[in-house]
């Protein structure tokens, strides 16, 4: 495994090392090689559980549940087939569709609400804008679980229990504070001179926003959207309490596997991987912005 990945193409980042400055003495170079190797070992160690999950998902159930583990067992897609056929009916598709719907719509709502707010807090700041910003953040620091009961009671007494739109609204409120923070910091990076120049040229607000602000802030806005999507996709407590059969989301579908026994190991792995796939893809695509966003724009 390690030999395989160590040879993987990585030319892009390998040129910087030994060439920088005057050639370092051999002892330092050897130490650098050793530390690089150590980093590789750590990286592989951390990804090993996931790699093992991938391998297990590709084994037949009987090969998956062996001790000691078998590396040479034949590969099969039976685990994935079993997962998608689960329950004989529609399988996991409704749950995946619900998750997609809750994540996409709440992300859209967040953007619609957060963009004007971020504009008011960065480009044309209101008075005491910092206090307002802190209020937004403070709502994020109150634990979800402490507001869950009234929301549950409300849903039960209206028609909102097991309704995906309730999740959309809750996920919007869950992600809105973070989005306002992130976008505030991204919009603040738009050079004021650029905006002033456009205004002097006679551009009105909508033009300034669409021609000057949006292009500069676009990568940041995209990163914000990705993070909101990831958090909504991952959420389980709200979904668990407030949905049932109709509006069940993918993570709740996964909880069905909590007590499953050894016979379905490959299926559990296949299910976990399929449901994690959107988040893994989104996260890898936005690695750098992800850090900046998760640290609320404080780390640049």
């Amino acid at each position: 495994m390690s030999a395989l990945t160590a040879d993987a193409p990585e030319a892009a980042s390998s040129t910087a090392g030994p060439k920088a400055g005057s050639a370092p003495p051999r002892s330092i170079r050897r130490k650098n090689t050793a530390l690089g190797l150590l980093a590789w070992v750590c990286g592989l160690l951390f990804v090993l559980p996931i790699a093992w999950m991938v391998l297990t998902s590709l084994h037949s159930e009987s090969d998956a549940a062996t001790n000691p583990p078998s590396l040479a067992a034949p590969l099969t897609l039976d685990g994935y087939r079993a997962f998608f056929d689960a329950g004989g009916g529609a399988g996991p598709w409704p749950a995946l569709a619900n998750s997609l719907m809750a994540s996409v719509f709440s992300t859209l709502f967040v953007l619609v609400l957060a963009l004007p707010a971020a504009y008011a807090l960065s480009i044309r700041p209101v008075r005491k804008w910092r206090d307002v910003l802190f209020f937004f953040l403070s709502t994020k620091m109150l634990p979800i679980v402490a507001g869950l009961l009234p929301i549950y009671l409300f849903a039960k007494n209206t028609s909102f229990l097991d309704n995906i739109w309730l999740l959309v609204i809750l996920y919007t409120s869950m992600n809105l504070p973070i989005a306002v923070w992130m976008m505030q910091s991204f919009l603040a990076e738009v050079p004021p001179a650029l905006i002033e120049a456009a205004q002097i040229d006679g551009a009105r607000l909508p033009t300034v926003l669409s021609r000057v602000v949006a292009p500069v802030a676009a990568p940041g806005i995209a990163a914000t959207a990705l993070i909101c999507f990831i958090f909504s996709w991952n959420e389980m407590l709200f979904a668990r309490v407030l949905t049932g059969v109709v509006a069940q989301t993918a993570p709740v579908f996964l909880t069905g596997f909590i007590t499953s026994q050894g016979l379905f190991l490959a299926k559990v792995c296949a299910a976990s991987l399929v449901i994690s796939l959107p988040v893994l893809a989104a996260g890898f695509a936005a690695q750098d912005k992800l850090v900046q966003g998760l640290s609320l724009g404080a780390v640049k």
Partner: protein, 323 residues
Amino acid sequence: MSTPTTTAPGAHDRKRPPATQAAAAPKGPPNRLRGWVTRAPLLPALVFLIIVTQLPFAATLVVSFFDWNALYPEARSFGGFANYQEVLSDPALRDSVVTTAVLTAVVVLVSLVLGLLLALLLDRSFRGRGVVRTLLIAPFLLVPVAAALLWKHVLYNPEYGLFNGVLSWLFGDDAPQPEWVAEMPLGAVEMALIWQWTPFMMLILLAGLQSRPADSIEAARIDGAGAWQIFRYLTLPHLRRYLELGALLGSIYIVQNFDAVFTITSGGLGTANLPYTIYQTFYQGHEYGLASAAGVLVVIGSLVIATLALRVVSSLFREEVRA
């Protein structure tokens, strides 16, 4: 706070154009109107957040003073602080307070230290650094329930899990085959969470390392400082605010952790933290008043963390403005 605008490149002061300052000093009705025009874009987000987050909290506070079990709705009555007394004197609930504190502290501290070591390793250039970084991020990107299932079934399972499999690989048929979750339930939850959160800490600290001013390190090196001295007196002080940020953001999320506890142990064997206990108290026990009182206590605890967190974030802010 209202630092006068200088030519310094502080991101947050640059965008205080003269127009805003005029709006900020009300001089009669037209200006007040303009103040509202400036404020208007904020209102939808503010109103939405207050309705969806603050109202339920207020309702929780009210319910916490009632003796209210959903199975006996007609017996609902005002109970004053009785629920709080019960929460604080019930050993199970008290234990979950301790569990929450221990779980959060252990996971945050261990993942911070591991994250720091990994960040230091990744801060130097070596072949395939980008690939290693991507590998390290993967655990953080797995859906939390999926990650918890992975640890519970694929790694910890005593009969066919990877851990015991490796043990019998190495030591043959006589290999010890521990029941990981049964023997160290809280440790099992902590391990899984540390695995997921170390990458997050690593990413923040790596960003911190890469924002280190290179010239002062170069100067120190020329003055003959060793690697440890540079780390202790230059790197660590520079990283301080990144370490604080990682610790506080980590705490905010891990105090609230539900997925790992729910999935790996279902709150059994002394691993029930407060979110899990509250969930159980109202969702399965139907004790609405009691659950709400516990919820209010969680909020009070979180407020302490939040105050600290906000102080850290605002100090970050001030430094940025001064920069």
